[in-house]
Symmetry: C3
Subunit: 247 residues, 3 copies
Amino acid sequence: MISPHAVVKASDLPDGVVIHEFAVVSEGAKLGKGVVIHPHACIESGVTLGEGVEVFHGAIVGREPKGAGAVARPIEFERVVEIGAHTVIGPHAVIYYDVKIGSETLIGDGASIRDKCRIGDRCLISRGVTFNYNTVVGDRVRIMDLTHITGNCVIEDDVFISTLVATVNDNALGSHGYDEGRIVGPHVESGAMIGAGAILLPNVRVGAGSVVGSGAVVTKDVAPQSLMMGMPARLIRSLDQSQGFSS
Amino acid sequence: MISPHAVVKASDLPDGVVIHEFAVVSEGAKLGKGVVIHPHACIESGVTLGEGVEVFHGAIVGREPKGAGAVARPIEFERVVEIGAHTVIGPHAVIYYDVKIGSETLIGDGASIRDKCRIGDRCLISRGVTFNYNTVVGDRVRIMDLTHITGNCVIEDDVFISTLVATVNDNALGSHGYDEGRIVGPHVESGAMIGAGAILLPNVRVGAGSVVGSGAVVTKDVAPQSLMMGMPARLIRSLDQSQGFSS
Amino acid sequence: MISPHAVVKASDLPDGVVIHEFAVVSEGAKLGKGVVIHPHACIESGVTLGEGVEVFHGAIVGREPKGAGAVARPIEFERVVEIGAHTVIGPHAVIYYDVKIGSETLIGDGASIRDKCRIGDRCLISRGVTFNYNTVVGDRVRIMDLTHITGNCVIEDDVFISTLVATVNDNALGSHGYDEGRIVGPHVESGAMIGAGAILLPNVRVGAGSVVGSGAVVTKDVAPQSLMMGMPARLIRSLDQSQGFSS
């Protein structure tokens, strides 16, 4: 069912595709079986949507990264987006070009995913979350509302990041211009949990299975299985006595 | 005045309704006298808008809660939204199904209100605020920009919650799956004030008239009329000497 | 190139203007040479876009400030917006009436700029940032994702404000109603840097070249060239030994 009010230039639409009012599907977009495009969503050229993907109202898949004079970083990207089967893109979410998202993942309302990001399967990226460029996220990762994930981050499988968590990648607070080698975001290892309102400073590594308490400010590396709290974050105790920290 | 570029399937539109370009008003939506629908807004079936309601550009009233594979919680909801007289819905705000909002309330730009929420009269829910499911808000409550209100919260009348406040409802950070009984958000009693960047942990009760300072992390119940500060939040003093805390 | 699906009522469009599908350009809007309006964007009457301005999908330029019953402040404004040459407005950004933005500035996805704000040249206002009314921002200012800038703020040239920073302008947390003289936001002097998740309380002045650490809560004035950390923020050291604080 294609609304007569939509603008659809893509060809070869498979069975069961639904495109609602005032949606725009550009030439060269590829839609899988059963894809649903809600009103006012835009699917740009070079985008591939897997089977059963649903794109909600006003979402944009395939946004060009476009700096104004103020943006130091030179932007190179490929005009490609791949979205895996049965993934849902919430209303007003923005997926830039050069992004790959796995299957059965949920991108929340108004979330924004910059170029060169890779997000795995069965993730939950909640409302208003913003990702900067070139961040890699594993499978089954959950990131709650209004959290900011900085550029050049690594987030491994099964990580949980709560609401309003800040991550940063530049100790000099941008005062030295852009230097790809110096700008490194946090690396959160598998199964770690980051509490609400926590802050992860540049280049820190949070070890596997660690828990960072709400409001904690992580200023240096955290060993695996550590419970960290405070500003700056301090070790409260190990979460696995049999393992210890020196092993 | 109905724009010839809008898609309007609702019938029995009363006097003074204005529907702008590229708006979508579905069959079965009920609009009160003098309702204004700005460009690109969508009013879905089952929605009732009271007299004088104004829905700004690109807002969505009646969004289906739709999990992808990643979302643990089973979702049941009624396909109904009720918005009281003279309430304003800001641009790109998203009101899910099974929500009731009172009269003369303002929902800010890009705010997102999940299913089963109830919000009272003369509230201000500011820009970018996200509500999770099943939260109840009284009258004259003000919640400032970019604050996250978690699921299963209670916020009583005349509460003020400042900007970038985090509330959470799951001490286990989601590691045990979803369990309706265990997941309880904060309860903020009438007239309490929560400062900017504060964090309220699961199941804490903030007593009537209490003040939580900016950046404080509330880890346990707060007696009425208390001034709390710090991480974790500690009692600084009572705000009402005549009342005391043991009474 | 004007899409046949757009609604364009402005006249005298200059060379090279591109208006995409389902955009709305109202009568009385003025577009410079080479302006690009992406799908679903709205340019209202009284808006002037300089040469080469690009307005992305679903952005709104010229939103009326509209309180519901809940909003105390009376709203007066001029129905004018001026956007300087080569500035970029991201998708779903909302620019209220009575706003001026300089040239080569970038307004991020979903950012919201209230009435009476003035923003200079070559600024970066990142995704999801919200500005309240009557705030003045200099040139080359960078404000990262999901930060809230309160009303009646002054932010001088070359300031850097990181992600999820809270600023407030009302010590009484709104309990006394609106009083223009009492409501004063922070003043951040030139070249100061504010770390992620920091909080600036009402009426504080952050001196030129100072650095506020991540998560710090600034409760009183900060001398120039100071490094401040903690909750409440304390002076860690001067950043310029030769200058000192009493000079």
